[in-house]
């Protein structure tokens, strides 16, 4: 059983949190703030959930309090965006090291300076080396479902790592869409209870969290953390299958849209994928063999699977909504890495677009597809879409 509601992406994430009914939710409204926790606070105020909420005094304290609650044994969550993620960076780095399964929706927006509140992926891309599992969502429906999947993935004993569930600022977070919300009881059953081995509130079995580990142990602890994030790859598919039995949908590492026989493929994250699919449909009608790939599980990155999906493609265009300043753009860099082992590599080209929330138009996507189809591809040139001057 399910019902369709008109929801923004932020509300969709909050709906997932309603069904999860976490023990603790922590909130701070930095600029640009996200309304996810506000919607959730209404559920608390109206007794729809019985979560303990902490309206903290900064984003740094927001994740700190969530970490404290999670170490204490609670299912703890917070949500953030842009500057908030930047301010909590120190704790973002510490959370996976403590192996705490915190799920945090992230509304992707540009980073200061200049200050800008609009959609951009600079916030998350700066945290990719820190050890969180990263899931990207095209729309409100995915934001809802991936929150549920993320929670199970985070808490799985083979994983025990935090997860960020990304959605595009404004484009997804503030735009209303029809979202299918699955039956509360079914979802609650899927979610289950957090399994606890060692936790601070188990006062009869005291243990020490967050010790000092020096040259003799730090390295091994970090290797275990790496093993855990690689283990997340197969666990993700396993839990995805379970969720499929409720939703009837698949939960692959990436979505392939008309990609199997495509000559030219564009790879892009989040909401832009919707626009690219439209252009793919139009150009397919014109007889052009174009397709799209949208990464969903971005950390751990599915290199082998991406390589397999691209092995027969002539040209690949990678769309990044952030710059890596002085290096290949983040998504481009991953895809390019994935292709290295192919004996016959596709041509590949990097496009940066949409920084600070600048719109991307179908004409620009079409222009890129045509470049790719014409073989006008130069891996050493950084292309920009919609850039003036």
């Amino acid at each position: 059983m399910s019902i369709v509601k008109s929801l923004t992406g932020a509300q969709a994430a909050a709906e997932a949190m309603r069904q999860i009914n976490p023990d603790v939710v922590v909130a701070y409204p930095i600029t640009p703030q996200t309304p996810i926790v506000e919607y959730f606070a209404e559920f608390v105020a109206n007794g729809i959930v019985n979560t303990e909420t902490i309206p903290v005094e900064s984003e740094h304290s927001a994740l700190s309090a969530a970490v404290g609650a999670s170490a204490a044994g609670a299912r703890a969550m917070c949500a953030t965006s842009s500057q908030g993620l930047a301010l909590m960076w120190e704790i973002v780095a510490a959370t996976p090291g403590l192996r705490l399964p915190i799920v945090m929706p992230l509304v992707n927006r540009a980073l200061s300076a200049p200050i800008n509140i609009h959609c951009d992926h600079s916030d998350v891309m700066g945290t990719l080396t820190l050890g969180w599992i990263q899931i990207f969502c095209e729309n409100a429906q995915e934001a809802y479902e991936h929150m549920l999947l993320a929670l199970r993935l985070a808490e799985d004993e083979r994983v025990l790592l935090p997860v960020m569930v990304n959605q595009d600022g404004f484009i997804t977070s503030h735009a209303v869409e029809p979202v299918k919300i699955y039956d509360d009881e079914t979802i609650k059953k899927f979610i289950g209870e957090r399994k606890l081995n060692r936790y601070l509130l188990d006062v009869d079995h005291p243990f020490t969290v967050g010790p000092l580990a020096l040259t003799d142990y730090y390295f091994e602890i970090k290797k275990q953390q790496e093993d855990a994030i690689y283990a997340a790859k197969s666990v993700y598919l396993e839990i995805g299958k379970e969720l499929s039995s409720i939703t009837g949908k698949g939960y692959p590492y990436f979505e392939e849209y008309k990609a199997s026989d495509a000559e030219a493929i564009i790879i892009t994250l989040n909401s832009t994928a919707g626009t690219v699919k439209d252009v793919v449909d139009e150009m397919r009608n014109e007889g052009k063999r174009v397709g799209m790939i949208k990464p969903i599980l971005f950390r751990p990155f599915p290199y082998a699977e991406v390589r397999e999906a691209l092995k027969n493609v002539s040209s690949v265009g990678v769309f990044d909504r952030s710059i890596a300043f002085g290096a290949y753009a983040p998504l481009y860099s991953e895809v390019r890495n994935a292709l290295y082992d192919l004996p016959k590599k596709p041509k590949i080209q990097s496009y940066i677009y949409g920084l600070g929330g600048r719109d991307i138009f179908k004409s620009e996507i079409r222009f890129s597809f045509n470049e790719l189809l014409d073989g006008k591809v130069d891996p050493n040139i950084q292309n920009y879409l919609g850039l003036r001057g």
Binding site: D23, V24, V26, N50, T51, E52, T53, I54, P55, V56, E57, S58, H60, S61, S64, A65, A66, V67, G68, A69, S70, A71, A72, G73, A74, A76, E90, I91, A94, L98, L200, L201, D202, V203, P206, F207, T208, V209, G210, P211, L212, A213, L214, Y217, I221
Partner: protein
């Protein structure tokens, strides 16, 4: 009221084998405070001396649930633990009562942690915050903090031809905390075990957040003989440099009034951080310090007398 013997015969939650400097006062402070709790204690500890010497992996000195996250946020971590506890109570997942204790040094409290502390106090979490105050960043080698006293030489503001050491007086952290209208805040020190114990009991039993600032003379960076920690603690009190007082529901009560306060030189003598003050050209610094101490003492006496709530 328990005797000293009662306090020391309680099971240790901070056990020996830690790597504190010889003569360090932190362990007696923490042991006394933990002994004052009649419930299990869950501890959130900032980065600092106490954290680094008690949990060198794979060892731990803690027999209580203990957590360290980063330098500035034990108050926020404690808030999270308290919220988890409330959620567990509400959902029938725990029936025991617990005390939650956040611990930081002065750098992690007066300076970088003051925001997290203020937020947690304002929200009214039921926890006690303890600062062991050694008047500087001593774990990293004597850098200046907001708790460093006027005239002290530190590695970031050293004394020299053009410098008397720190030119400012320290923050009044107890009054900053008390201004949050919390039920209990107090200043204590390491050598007054019973006074510290009673204050910790009041803090644990307070109906809301509580705060203890405990002076912890640092043998390493105040640089004196390790056998003299308790002596310097006593002199800090007898010179009125570190008055023992408490603020209960806003009202100040002074716990110890020296019959005859000793001159500040007696506290300064023998500490390398104040050595330069005994050069003739720095005599004015000691006079100024004495003037500030006497003025501050007169002020808190007046506050106590007036019964005005702060």
């Amino acid at each position: 009221m328990p005797t000293l013997n009662d306090i020391v015969s309680k099971p240790d939650l901070l056990v020996s084998g830690h790597r504190m400097c010889a003569g360090c006062g932190i362990a007696p402070i923490i042991k006394t405070i933990l002994a004052a709790s009649d419930k299990p204690v869950i501890i959130a500890n900032n980065t600092g001396c106490l954290e680094v010497v008690t949990t060198i992996y794979p060892y731990t000195s803690w027999s209580a649930p203990w957590m360290h996250l980063t330098f500035e946020n034990s108050a926020a971590v404690a808030a999270g633990i308290e919220a988890a506890y409330k959620a567990f109570r509400k959902r029938g997942k725990i029936d025991k009562e617990v005390n939650i204790l956040a611990i930081g040094g002065d750098g992690g409290t007066y300076d970088i942690g003051v925001q997290a502390l203020s937020g947690a106090l304002e929200r009214g979490h039921k926890f006690m915050y303890v600062v062991y105050d050694n008047e500087g960043y001593m774990n990293t080698g004597n850098q200046r903090s907001g708790a460093t006293p006027y005239g002290a030489s530190t590695t970031t503001v050293p004394a020299g031809k053009e410098s008397i050491g720190k030119p400012q007086w320290r923050k009044n952290i107890v009054e900053i905390v008390a201004a949050h209208r919390i039920p209990y805040a107090a200043q204590a020190t390491v050598h007054q075990t019973l006074d510290l114990f009673k204050k910790a009991q009041k803090g644990f039993n307070a109906d809301g957040p509580s705060f203890l600032a405990v002076l912890q003379p640092c043998t390493t960076n105040w640089a004196y003989d390790p056998s003299l920690t308790m002596k310097y603690s006593r002199l800090a009190v007898e010179t009125n440099f570190w008055p023992l007082y408490e603020v209960e529901n806003g009202r100040i009560h002074i716990n110890f009034k020296p019959r005859e306060r000793k001159p500040i030189e007696e506290f300064l003598k023998g500490q390398t951080r104040f050595k330069h003050l005994f050069k003739p050209e720095n005599g004015h610094v000691i006079s100024e310090m004495q003037r500030m101490i006497d003025e501050e003492w007169a002020r808190i006496l007046k506050l106590e007398e007036s019964e005005v709530r702060i």
